[in-house]
């Protein structure tokens, strides 16, 4: 009888214990997330496309806490742009190195005549070098914005990188103004000679003299130079407009517009840098005698005849250039 009573007590006790545990489970779940049924951040973003509140400072735009396009833009800036820029610029350098190793310098085949013809005036060279030097500083400081953190910072440390980046940013902002002036002057100075024509088609078909040893006729600017001209004018104009949109935030557009401007600015800029690497190559080690045009302003008559024969004929007709053939060849220095 006593054992039956103990058995009943144990059974009742076990049932009570199980009841307590079973009752405590929903309570515990409720404590973990008491706002499970309320609107969460993700739902707000999906419904409103952004999360914003009110702020007490005059700039009400600072009330925007989240906008989904920012995540896409950040992904582009930190990942996609680095791939585009790296492939474009390193790819161009690789192509130029391979080209130089296989083709070498494009030589002046008829030698120097000893007589020169004025190719660019002092003002034209001034504008060219002003734009070029500004471009180089803008390119280096711009690449620092995209590649500085992953590549330079580990090498030089936080202090030096911070100081350098600050000065690079100042240079980038303020040298953009003479650069823009230079692009505008280049557009006005050389537009007349850079309208594409039928001669350019023939020049391109014959490889422009770069491939092989042909010398297709060209006026003052050949098709390759015209391409560089339009890259500078259109590309320079695009980076200037989008750059000023970023430099003066919210004057021209909202945050989405500035994100788009940054994408256009950076993509055009890396393509621009790659194109200018090609331009620098052909103007220096790629072609004998080419640097003289922007160096002294005068080129050898034989060089002009080989690369710009139609222009030389025009200049001779005007009396601006000596007539005659490839006279008095002199040894190249």
């Amino acid at each position: 009888m006593a054992s039956l009573g103990r058995f009943i007590r144990l059974t009742v006790g076990a049932c009570a214990f199980l009841l307590v545990i079973a009752a405590s489970v929903p309570c515990k779940a409720q404590q973990v997330n008491p706002t499970a049924s309320s609107v969460n951040e993700q739902q707000l973003l999906q419904e409103l496309n952004r999360i914003q509140g009110r702020v007490s400072i005059p700039d009400q735009r600072s009330g925007v806490l989240e906008q989904p396009a920012g995540r896409d833009w950040r992904e582009f800036r930190n990942v996609t742009l680095r791939w585009i820029g790296g492939i474009t610029i390193i790819g161009m350098i690789a192509v130029l190195v391979i080209f130089y190793l296989t083709r070498g310098m494009v030589r002046l085949e008829s030698g120097r005549s000893g007589r020169t013809i004025v190719r660019f005036s002092a003002f034209e060279r001034f504008v060219h070098w002003m734009t070029a030097t500004c471009f180089i500083v803008l390119a280096i400081s711009g690449l620092n914005i995209t590649f500085g953190r992953p590549l330079l910072l580990p090498l030089v440390g936080f202090e030096a990188f911070s100081e350098w980046s600050q000065w690079a940013k100042y240079a980038h902002n303020y040298l953009s103004f003479p650069f823009t002036i230079g692009v505008a002057l280049i557009f006005l100075m050389w537009i007349a000679g850079n309208i594409p024509n039928k001669v350019d088609v023939d020049w391109l078909k014959r490889g422009g003299g770069i491939v092989g040893h042909d010398h297709p006729p060209a006026y003052r600017f050949n098709a390759g130079q015209k391409a560089i001209y339009w890259i500078v004018v259109i590309g320079g104009g695009a980076v200037a407009v989008t750059g000023y949109e970023l430099m003066f935030p919210f004057y021209l557009s909202g945050i989405e517009g500035m994100q788009l401007a940054q994408i256009v600015h950076s993509v055009v800029a890396v393509l621009f840098i790659a194109a200018m690497l090609g331009h620098i190559y052909i103007g220096t080690i790629g072609m004998e005698g080419a640097f003289d045009a922007m160096g002294t302003g005068d080129v050898d008559l034989n060089w002009a005849k080989e690369h710009h024969s139609l222009w030389v004929e025009e200049e001779q007709a005007k009396g601006h250039a000596p007539s005659g053939g490839t006279s008095r060849p002199v040894a190249a220095e």
């Binding site: 007490s56 400072i57 005059p58 700039d59 120097r112 000893g114 007589r115 020169t116 013809i117 004025v118 002092a122 060279r125 001034f126 504008v127 060219h128 070098w129 002003m130 070029a132 030097t133 500004c134 600050q166 100042y170 240079a171 902002n173 303020y174 040298l175 103004f177 003479p178 650069f179 002036i181 160096g295 002294t296 302003g297 005068d298 050898d300 008559l301 250039a321 000596p322 008095r328 002199v330 220095e333």
Partner: protein, 77 residues
């Protein structure tokens, strides 16, 4: 007058005018650098006059910035 006499004939042989050509090249290049530097400094001064630093533009009676220049919203922020 002497300078005018010394002015080269544009069709002269290259080697006889190498020095004056180099000088001319340097002049255009140096002038370009000077103009770019002056324009950049000039525009920075102009913009600093026209624009207010964020510590001034975004300060209200209820939100003042302490020690501008050494925090995130100072003149260098």
């Amino acid at each position: 007058m002497r300078r005018r006499e010394a002015r080269r004939d544009p069709w002269q042989p290259n080697n006889s005018v190498r020095t004056s050509q180099s000088g001319s090249a340097m002049k255009a290049f140096v002038a370009a650098l000077l103009f770019a530097a002056i324009a950049a400094v000039g525009i920075s001064i102009l913009l600093n006059i026209i624009q207010e630093p964020s510590s001034v533009a975004f300060t209200t009676g209820g939100a003042r910035v302490g020690d501008p220049g050494n925090n995130l919203v100072g003149p260098n922020g």
